[in-house]
Amino acid sequence: MRAKQLLVTLMALAFGRRRSRDPEQKAREEESPQGRIVPAGEPDRGAELLVVGLLALATLFAAGFIVVYGEMGPTKTLNTLLGVCIAGALACIAAALAVIARRLIVTEEIEEEYPEESPEEQREIVQLVHDSGSRFTRRKLLVGAAATAGSALGLAGLTPVLSLGPLWDTVPLEATPWYRGRRLVDPGGHPMLASDIEEETFYTAFPQGADPENIGSSLVVIRLAPSALKLPHGRETWAPYGILAFSRICTHAGCAIELYRKPRFQPVEPKPALVCPCHYSTFDPATGATVVYGPAGRPLPQLPVMIDPDGHLAAAGDFSGRVGPAWWGVRAKPS
């Protein structure tokens, strides 16, 4: 009922206005020297009514938005209703505008010249600059000095940016929290017993007491039969009982190695492999995580593992190479 009353009021307002305005418009047309600018058209009262109706509907939607916001708790339904209400209000006003554009406004197609170049002004600008500079005799020197001063000031202005971080420092890229004797702990923070590590399982480990978010912290730990290992020369003692630890950060672009699976392709079938889900770099743990497939350019750094007297896993040193994605000048092959 309310809506209907509102509609009637609005209509009355709209139509009252239109009629009372008519004579004024006529007077203006007669006054204007060139007559109308926009061509005349027939009134369309049906269209006007439609516009008012659409605007009324938009008002209802908007009011609905406020009511829904006030009445409901933060649920999925609230989200849906709010979206529908605001979209409804916007769409109704858009429709009203479309009706106005199609039926209540005379759409003229007019012609006009494209803007032209202005050779005269171009010439004047050039002359202006030349004339103004006619008292300078040592142009090159002046320009050079100005350029130098400008660049120096620019550089000075940029210098504070250096406080953002260390400049030209690659030491953090090479640092890891691992050292000989540091224990491996599981995600719960408990030291890992070597006897708990089983084959065909994928473990995550961190350095005891270190920040697990450090890019050099996280490890994947797996166990292979010692007879299957073909580790590079010099790593004979790095994997007691076949327990291997590698950096968990992919050497391609820094995702985490999250998959431990048997690759589908022939050459290493059916050997297990460590896989990065981002661009599918695949590493063979038995050979020291060398790249067998995918875009990575370096093997995963291996952490030498030892078993301390009470049976816990601990690092026997630092990684075999640099952790994470490569950068200009990083050692490609483990030293």
Partner: protein, 464 residues
């Protein structure tokens, strides 16, 4: 007597002397063609982005300091997470209308990018980039690439698992820059990834102020340049010429239409935000550098970069024992720069090849320039295939093809298919041109016959 219109007009003109400029602006002409709306849609999506983004910024907490979640979402209760991620959880699940605004913001970004790309295609295939509008075109390209970065940063701010993975890859790509990569990565992140917490606030100021300000400036310049040279137009009839523009004036004809389009774009975006779930961050959980997930898909406009990273064969520039240019550089930096360069240089390349140095206000239909159209389609196919490969996990799941087979197939296809596309499209254009000529001749003949017929009737000669 006071007049509701005349009074403010007089007020403004007396104080600004702007009446002539305003009158000119009101009568600025818009050619009437649907494809001209694509750029407008991008502009309106940008407006929605600013509005919704401002609201989100009131609630978002740009900090990766650790906190524990005690909110309404049971599965994450008690989890340690960053302030940033927690505040987005609150926006999504606690504040009324928060989810609507967040999802609308995200949808608006996707639609914004899509309409820019479609607009670019329209401009490319109709030759609208030619003299005198090369600058407008270059600024448009800059807008596209800047928006890409803006979208990536927005996505990365949330600090959920997916955004963290995206950021990790971004860090890998940054590190791969020749010579400066390593130190630059340390400078920007403040330490190694994921940084000591300074990077979040740096991203934040870039996402909510620096880049939007740059975008707004570029958009302003883009529009100013369009207005300075006026719109291009298709030749629909004899009135449309190189020197005369036919169009609907801004007021009264165009204004209600444009306003309606703005409201429709906003309505669609809010409807999407209300009805279609996008990036349900509460499902991903907080980011930890040692976690990753399979099948994670970023926003669509980053797909081509993922695809390039995946397609690029394992090739690093290695000298002795040292890597100089690591692999992510090719897909993550060289590939998009190459695309930008080819697109940016195209107006000048075309001018070189065709020797056409004149100004153009009339648009080509794609068939009118077979070589350009064929090259454009081939280039687009190339980028699109790389993009499709970015979603290779989906293909893998859908068709059960192994990743290795797909990779090989795509490495061949991205070269073969565009080449074929070039030949086919060129052929098609020439045939369409040919058909047009036949049609023209037929029409001329018909008109001739009609004229003769009318002539006979007039002279009362017997009609044959």
């Amino acid at each position: 007597m006071s007049d509701r219109i005349a009074d403010p007009v007089r007020f403004i003109d007396e104080r600004t002397a702007a009446a002539p400029a305003i009158k000119k602006a009101l009568r600025y002409l818009f050619p009437d063609h649907w494809s001209f709306l694509l750029g407008e849609i991008a502009l309106y999506a940008f407006i929605v982005l600013i509005a919704t983004g401002t609201y989100l910024a009131l609630f978002f907490e740009p900090s990766v300091a650790k906190t524990v979640y005690h909110g309404s979402y049971a599965p994450l209760r008690g989890r340690e997470m960053s302030e940033a991620y927690k505040s987005v959880l609150e926006i999504s699940l606690t504040y009324k209308a928060g989810l609507l605004i967040r999802q609308t913001h995200h949808w608006a970004a996707d639609v914004f990018m899509a309409s820019i790309v479609l607009h670019l295609m329209r401009v490319f295939f109709t030759g609208a980039f030619r003299k005198p509008r090369e600058l407008t075109y270059l600024i448009g390209l800059l807008l596209l690439f800047t928006s890409l970065l803006e979208g990536y940063l927005g996505y990365s701010l949330v600090d959920d698992l997916l955004s963290g993975i995206g950021l990790a890859i971004g860090y890998g790509v940054l590190l791969s820059l020749p010579f400066v990569g390593g130190p630059l990565g340390i400078l920007i992140f403040g330490s190694t990834f994921p940084g000591k917490g300074v990077f979040e606030s740096r991203m934040y100021i870039a996402h909510v102020f620096l880049i939007p300000a740059l975008l707004a400036t570029l958009i302003g310049l883009h529009l100013a340049l369009v207005a300075a040279r006026h719109h291009t137009q298709f030749r629909r009839d004899r009135r449309h010429t190189q020197r005369r523009l036919v169009g609907v004036p801004m007021f009264p004809g165009q204004a209600p239409r444009s306003l309606a389009l703005l409201l429709i774009v906003a309505a669609v975006l809010f409807l999407l935000g209300g009805l279609v779930q996008i990036n349900p961050i509460w499902q991903w959980g907080p980011f930890e550098p040692w976690l990753a997930t399979n099948g994670a898909q970023p926003d669509w406009y980053l797909g081509w970069l993922i695809g390039a990273l995946r397609l690029m064969p394992s090739f690093d520039v290695v000298v002795g024992h040292y890597t100089l240019i690591p692999n992510p550089f090719w897909g993550g930096v060289a590939f998009p720069l190459l695309v930008l360069f080819v697109l940016g240089a195209f107006p000048w390349i075309e001018r070189r090849l065709t020797g056409d140095r004149s100004s153009h206000n009339l648009l080509d239909r794609p068939r009118d320039a077979p070589n350009r159209t064929a090259f454009g389609v081939a280039f687009l196919t190339w980028v699109f295939l790389v993009f499709v490969f970015g979603a290779s996990d989906r293909v893998y799941v859908l068709f059960g093809l192994s990743y290795e087979t797909l990779l090989t197939a795509f490495r061949v296809a991205i070269w073969v298919v565009p080449a074929l596309a070039f030949l086919v499209v060129r052929r098609l254009c020439l045939q369409l041109q040919h058909a047009d000529r036949i049609e023209e001749r037929r029409e001329e003949a018909e008109q001739e016959a009609e004229r003769e017929h009318a002539e006979r009737v007039r002279r009362r000669e017997p009609v044959l």
